[in-house]
């Protein structure tokens, strides 16, 4: 029987350390089997939030429910939560298999069933035959696998991942992201994943919560979060984004005209409170901007500008340009040019034209106005 209750529910959870408010009024619910990623810069309170869910710290206010039960007074060892720590925290004095058997032993599983279970989880994380290795005899990626097998072997209600991949090199990290996703789907385990890596968040999650400074900025599925960021902060945190500040001059439903420098740009907003003449902030994704040699016409774009290449970075599959537009008061615009070998490279100090459509210029009310 699957219960209709959410596996985890946070209601207005806050945590203060002295004067530092590390987590501010966080609420969310997590249905069974889904993956939630908490995304935010270092120091925004992600670990603190996970520690409260795991039971290592108590919230200063608010309540956490697991399977519908409030858990403030339940110690960690009586919660059914598997956690993979930032630094893994494997037991160095035990073998891989002993690490995986540890929660089974502590939770008084029938000793006769333990070897079979350990073997099964070694298989799931593709470490069959390595059970007798000591932790320091395993590579970084293999240690990750032991940590996840240890966190899952007792079939917890909830799996918590505290940036366990952050220490790995890029290639291994991306490999392990897919691996985590596979295991998570195979076992259908409800998961909260914490990261400051936007790519990891997009790859691994059903739902993403963006946090900054202890507070939730936006909660949405990856596609919506990327396409409809609710604030300038979220827009700038995910993807490569150019930021412009200007004044709204004409508003018609969601269409806004914005005066930036001595240009009037066309943009879109979801915020109905923006008034004519108000200061606004605009965000523009690098992949939405096209770049052409100077003088080439392109009437099809809502916004078109002359500029000069400030910097160009070759990334193999794409070129990243930083373009300075005097008309915008020198604010840099980032541009991705995919498959640049196919047409033309621009060099530093080349004159170029850039253009993008109104729907891609996201307009927000000024946060500190």
């Amino acid at each position: 029987m699957t219960s209709p209750l959410p596996v985890v529910e946070l209601r207005d959870v806050s945590k203060s350390f002295g004067n530092v408010r590390a987590v501010k009024n966080v609420s969310f619910t997590l249905p069974r089997g889904s993956v939630l990623t908490i995304l935010g810069p270092s120091g925004c309170g992600k670990t603190t939030l996970l520690r409260m869910i795991a039971g290592f710290d108590a919230p200063t206010s608010g309540e956490i429910f697991i399977q519908g039960q409030p858990v403030s007074s339940v110690p960690p060892y009586q919660r059914s939560i598997g956690m993979v720590f930032q630094k893994l925290a494997l037991f160095p004095h035990m073998t891989a298999a002993e690490n995986i058997a540890y929660p089974l032993k502590m939770r008084r599983y029938d000793p006769a069933t333990i070897p079979g279970r350990v073997e099964r989880y070694l298989q799931i994380v593709q470490l069959s035959g390595m059970g007798t290795r000591r932790i320091h005899e395993l590579s970084g990626g293999q240690q990750q696998r032991v940590a996840i097998a240890r966190a899952l072997s007792f079939s917890p209600d909830l799996l918590l991942l505290d940036e366990p991949l952050s220490a790995l090199d890029k290639k291994l990290r991306e490999e392990m992201q897919l691996e985590f996703r596979r295991i998570q789907q195979e076992l259908a385990v409800t998961t909260i994943n914490v990261t400051h890596d936007q790519r990891e968040a997009l790859v691994m999650s059903d739902e993403i919560i963006v946090m900054s400074d202890g507070a939730v900025q936006q909660a949405a599925d990856p596609v919506r979060l990327y396409r409809e960021p609710s604030s300038r902060f979220v827009a700038s945190f995910i993807g490569l984004t150019s930021l412009l500040t200007g004044r709204a001059t004409k508003i018609q439903a969601m269409d806004v005209a914005i005066q930036v420098g001595n240009m009037v740009l066309k943009g879109r907003t979801a915020d109905e409170t923006i008034q004519n003449g108000a200061w606004v902030e605009c965000a523009l994704r690098a992949e939405q901007v096209r770049i052409f040699p100077a003088g080439k016409g392109f009437a099809e774009f809502d916004n078109a500008l002359e500029g000069v290449v400030d910097q160009q970075i070759f990334e193999g599959d794409r070129m990243v340009y930083q373009v300075r537009c005097p008309a915008l008061g020198d604010a840099p615009i980032f541009v991705f040019d995919h498959d640049p070998a196919h047409h033309q490279f621009h060099q530093k100090d080349d004159s170029v034209r850039i253009g993008w459509n109104a729907q891609d210029l996201l307009v927000y009310a000024c946060s500190d106005a």
């Binding site: 060892y77 160095p92 502590m106």
Partner: protein
């Protein structure tokens, strides 16, 4: 540039001194540079060497019988001193008493020192940590003999405790010049050493590992038993060996708090050399003490593995 110019920037004095020192060190021939590291070992090696010379002389003493007519050691080699030492019931009791005290003191000290070190390392309150640190180092400034006399003042026949007891109308209690008093004094003396040796062992266990254990279903007793103790084992063994050998060879506590009733081996050695003026016998007892200590330490390290002394495992 004229000489009246004052340079706007001057190297700090410590840099200039070190630069001078380096230029002097530069005179050291380059092709010997691979030996430079070993050079720093020389003073320590010299000290150990001197110790070995002393030991060789004592070993030599122990092989010569005392000539009672001249009160000098005879020239001829003999094992008389060892026979005397090993046959004597008194000395056998002294050896057993020293060994027993070492075992008891080690056990009690470790039991007391581990929580102390643990709290000192783990506490979130900087006040608690400072308080524990100061309490730890204070005894080092006082020294063993003064501390032993401190105990006399408290536990003596007319000491603070007995004054209190008699003021209640009870008869005075004999609290010193017995085995428990010596043990008490030794435990108090050893505690700071043990804490100092255990603190790094606790520090090396990351807090996350303990939390991980709890999250996996272990309460704190199980976490202590299955995670903290095994990971602290090298520190525990190291501290245990230090406390054991320091107790085994201790002189002041049994002398002052035992008052001649509870001699340890060191007291007998002292008596051998200076009371009955028999350096041969004193030397034989010394050799027995050195052998005992070395054998025990070797066995412990052999059983515990060399990893105890120098960590050979990388911690992930």
């Amino acid at each position: 540039m004229s000489s009246s110019d004052t340079p706007s920037f001057q190297y700090p004095l410590s840099w200039r001194i070190l630069d001078r020192a380096e230029s002097v060190a530069g005179l050291w021939p380059g092709r010997w540079s691979s030996l430079t590291g070993y050079l720093f070992l020389v003073p320590a090696l010299l000290l150990v060497f001197v110790l070995v010379i002393g030991l060789v002389y004592i070993f030599d003493y122990s092989l010569h019988e005392l000539d009672l007519s001249t009160y000098r050691l005879k020239d001829a080699f003999s094992l008389v001193n060892y026979q005397a030492a090993l046959k004597s019931v008194t000395y056998r009791i002294v050896v057993l008493r020293s060994l027993g005290a070492s075992a008891i003191v080690t056990l009690i000290t470790m039991v007391l020192a581990f929580p102390y070190a643990y709290v000192m390392v783990r506490t979130r309150s900087s006040f608690t940590r400072k308080f524990l640190l100061i309490s730890l180092f204070l005894p080092f400034f006082i020294g063993q003999v003064v501390r032993a006399y401190g105990w006399l003042i408290i536990l003596g026949k007319e000491g603070l405790l007995n004054t209190f007891i008699t003021s209640l109308g009870l008869p005075p209690v004999k609290l010193i010049y017995n085995y428990p008093a010596v043990i008490l004094g030794l435990v108090q003396y050893m505690l700071p050493f043990a804490v100092l040796l255990l603190a790094p062992a606790v520090t090396s266990i990351s807090e996350d590992i303990e939390l991980a254990s709890e999250g996996l279903g272990a309460n704190w007793v199980q976490t202590f038993r299955h995670v903290v103790l095994p990971l602290a084992r090298p520190g525990l063994i190291g501290a245990g060996v230090v406390v054991f050998t320091l107790t085994l060879t201790d002189f002041a506590m049994p002398e002052i708090l035992g008052g001649g009733t509870t001699d340890f081996i060191a007291n007998s050695i002292y008596d051998g050399f200076f009371q009955i003026s028999n350096p041969g016998l004193g030397a034989a007892l010394s050799m027995i003490l050195v052998t005992l200590g070395s054998v025990i330490v070797t066995v412990v390290f052999f059983l515990a593995g060399t990893g105890t002394l120098v960590s050979t495992e990388g911690t992930p």
